[in-house]
């Protein structure tokens, strides 16, 4: 359903700063918007994105209803060693989705 898109360069030099781009499809319902019959739709958002590099947390974002639908988040990290980056999105109504990207460091 909510398939995440993750863009990490496949190869990098040791110590290079790489850009990580993430996009996940999600309505990010604010909890302030009326539906077509006038009732306020309950809040349904992603509240957190955590990224770990070989098991160590390198980035954490706390999201709010002010983040646009289909949250797109870009950040940076240093390519230290070959391995995998794991991304976990958690949110309201038990939402949980994760994705992985591997990187080869030379």
């Amino acid at each position: 359903m909510a398939r995440p898109l993750i863009n990490v360069p496949p190869k990098a030099k040791r110590g290079q700063v790489i850009e990580v781009k993430t996009l996940i499809s999600h309505v990010m319902e604010t909890g302030f918007r009326p539906s077509s019959i006038g009732e306020v739709l309950p809040r349904d958002i992603i509240t957190q994105l955590v990224c770990s590099y070989n098991g160590e947390e390198i980035f954490r974002a706390d999201l709010s209803p002010a983040i646009a639908a289909n949250p797109f988040i870009t950040f940076h990290t240093v390519a230290t060693e070959s391995g995998t980056l794991t991304f976990t999105w958690t949110g309201d109504n038990g939402f949980s989705e994760s994705g992985q990207a591997s990187i080869t460091v030379e």
């Binding site: 160590e56 974002a61 999201l63 983040i67 646009a68 988040i73 240093v78």
Partner: protein, 152 residues
């Protein structure tokens, strides 16, 4: 007499505009709630101007998706790095936008994302360094189509 009528109409117009502004203000968060949110995150730390660059269009057509980039000047070494970056707004229903937590492994302190803006307002980015100092940047944004007003 003509002059009097003109003044009266002008006065009535100004009053109506004022009332409209007041009612619109009340429906949203206010600069005071933004200040309270900032205090709840950073305590009473002194917030300096500079080191943070908030890049956001000053004229936004669609408040439902506003691209935003924050970058912070920092060497990002093990002893001197950016710990957290928080973004706040004045007039959305809630003052918080996003809070991110970084470490020295980030290499470069900065993020890009897309946010919602419910009104023309001030957006503030505040960064906390590893030594505890706090820096900020703010941008006034004009929004022509507000987010959260209609169902899509």
């Amino acid at each position: 007499m003509d002059q009097g009528r003109r003044e009266l109409i002008k006065g009535a117009g100004a009053f109506a505009c004022g009332m409209l502004l007041l009612t619109v203000r009340n429906a949203h968060a206010t600069p005071a709630t933004m200040q309270a949110a900032i205090t709840s995150v950073f305590g009473n730390a002194e917030i300096g101007k500079g080191r943070v660059t908030l890049d956001i269009p000053t004229l936004v057509e669609n408040g439902n998706t506003v691209p935003l980039t924050v970058s912070v000047e920092s060497p990002m070494t093990a002893t001197d790095y950016v710990k957290a970056i928080h973004i706040f707004n004045e007039k959305n229903p809630q003052p918080n936008v996003i809070g991110i937590h970084l470490g020295p492994r980030a290499g470069k302190a900065g993020i890009s994302t897309r946010i919602r803006l419910a009104d023309s307002q001030k957006v503030v980015a505040i960064a906390q360094m590893s030594d505890g100092s706090v820096w900020s940047d703010e941008v006034d944004v004009i929004v022509t189509l507000a987010a959260c007003v209609e169902s899509l």
